[in-house]
Point group: C2
Chain length 337, copies 2
DNA sequence: GTTTGTCATGGCACCGGTAACATAGGCTCC
DNA sequence: GGAGCCTATGTTACCGGTGCCATGACAAAC
């Protein structure tokens, strides 16, 4: 029994110190590469560390410094696997490079109550900063309280009093996509948007509308999807029944897949009968039929930049908004005539 | 200056206790819903908590209990956005339900040194358990050391002395896919595999080979990809030049996208000229052209099950291996003859 | 020879929540 | 009316790494 307990308890610095015949303080200095440690002493300490299998325990430092060297990342379960993974990679890589860990929380759906719970949990964990990759719309008092106490950056979307917002210019993304279709000669340009609760979705739609307005064209009614290919398919079936439509701007690649499928089923081919532009440039966008013309977004960079803002000096010159760029493939062409 | 310091320091239980005129212990009891607290006292404590904006600090408990209520998750940056997201969601949801946080680490590539660093970092963080969603092949001594000290479960792939392995039966997945093609009447069934360092890739290939062998057919040489659609495209161009081939088993949906594109470019249509089966059943598999027949894998469940094993009783009856199931769509048909 | 400085090291307090034990008041039951 | 018990609350010690200060040894400078 005693053996089990002994084996269960991890060795502490004091144990190492005893084994090496020095004080715990010297062990600490050795492990943190302090210059004021004799080479011979260092060797003895490191030997003892190896012998006992000592491993660093971060809890005490957390306790006394009040910092955890952990960042919280809030994600939404819906809304595109690609963007989530890419943002996560960017956040994680940047955090790791700075010696921070990343603790993730996923929201099952876009709900202020869930968001509150997620933030509260991260707060209890004692994270040093939070990256919100969720387009929250309504901000509650409690969210304000937390984001005031803990440095917070939002990637694409929400606005709270304390949080800085960092994102890709979605209005511009919508404009670029629409302008490309206008340039090809299209006039009947419909839009399959993301859900209205997403700020990105609203901004892209607004970019589409403003671009059409600038060309003197009345925007047709937008059709709302939920980012899934299934919703694109549903709205695509409606579009397929309207002969005037020669072009579609889909708010995400995945919805574009659905739209293409629906059009094909109705005998309308892309891009001969209908052109499609979408947004994201996921990996598969180049490998479907036809390869999608799409507005590229660098999610990885967004995630990394968010961490840089959290950890960097307050007045850093990193631009808050980045531009999206158009990738032209084969889903767009001039209208048939 | 004093004000800045005061504002900077978060209030502790002692502060709350002082404000409420009780001891810190009573505050602790109140917040943990101990039954031995007078209703009036409880109210006073909660008032003080609200007043001061007190928030729980988990570091001391970590320190004295030696547990962090955090699980580590190791992912690989390559290898399919869908599966990573789904595994992550499953792990996170199950962990959250049990009151645990999830700390992620992403490996830029499949490299034992990076894996060691990742495990070491999680160990330093003091995680209570580790889920490895990376198909590590070579296991170093240091990995063994860590996975012996910290409960570890591997999803799909690796084997270390201490870690339990949990996964989907990949050999069976390869067999099911191949058998489907055999049943349709195909005899020239080629395979685009995943990278050889991945255990899943090897197992699927083995399932394909064994299934062909059972039917008395010599397996053609496998073509190796790296899970990306681009690699599928590259190998697809080779396959397109071999007229005898009437069916392809691709080890992932994303590679299947590439194969289809290559075949189409060479004028060979799917499924009329060549049938394709793949593995994963990502969301877009149903929305490409043609919709893919594919072997479905429930990654979400795998992630959740891994956490259940970590946290559950040692002798739980959860099966270590789960079955994959075939979803038939339109990328497969009998050979043209 | 005294002062000053540097280096290697040790001692001790501290961070904050909680287990374990102590205490005091009130109630029940024989 | 005292033994026994329950409830509400307080006190103390502990977890383990590190900041801060103290100490002793020796060298260099005056």
């Amino acid at each position: 029994m005693t053996e089990a307990i002994t084996r269960n308890r991890q060795p502490s610095m004091a144990d190492v110190a005893r084994a090496a015949g020095v004080s715990a303080q010297t062990v600490s200095r050795t492990l943190r590469d302090s210059p004021h440690v004799n080479a011979e002493t260092r060797r003895r300490v490191l030997d003892a560390v190896g012998q006992l299998g000592y491993r660093y325990n971060s809890a005490p430092r957390m306790l006394s410094s009040g910092r955890s060297f952990t960042l919280g990342l809030v994600l939404l379960q819906a809304g595109g696997y690609y963007s989530r993974s890419a943002v996560t990679d960017g956040v994680e890589a940047a955090a790791r490079a700075a010696g921070y860990s990343v603790s993730i929380t996923t929201l099952a759906e876009l709900d202020p109550a869930l968001m509150e719970k997620a933030l509260l949990k991260l707060s209890d964990q004692g994270v040093d900063g939070i990256v919100i990759a969720v387009p929250l719309i309504s901000v509650t008092q409690r969210m304000e309280d937390i984001t005031r106490d803990i440095p917070t950056v939002t990637v694409d979307g929400s606005r709270t009093e304390g949080a800085r917002v960092l994102g890709i210019d979605q209005h511009e993304a919508g404009r670029i996509a629409t302008q490309h279709l206008l340039d090809l000669g299209h006039r009947q340009i419909w839009h399959v948007s993301g859900p209205d609760e997403w700020i990105e979705a609203r901004q892209r739609r607004q970019g589409w509308q403003d671009c059409l307005a600038a060309a003197g064209i009345d925007a047709p009614p937008p059709l709302e999807g939920d980012w899934t290919p299934e919703s694109g398919y549903r709205q695509g079936r409606i579009i397929a029944m309207i002969p005037e439509v020669t072009a579609v701007f889909a708010a995400s690649d995945e919805m574009a897949f659905g739209v293409v499928k629906a059009l094909r089923e109705r005998g309308r081919s892309v891009p001969e009968d209908v052109s499609i532009v979408s947004v994201d440039d996921i990996e598969l966008a180049a490998y479907c039929h036809p390869p999608l013309t799409t507005v590229r977004q660098d999610f990885y960079h967004s995630g990394a930049a968010a961490v840089a803002v959290l950890l960097g000096a307050d007045g850093d010159p990193e631009p808050a908004v980045r531009q999206a760029t158009l990738t032209i493939r084969h889903s767009t062409a001039p209208p048939a005539r």
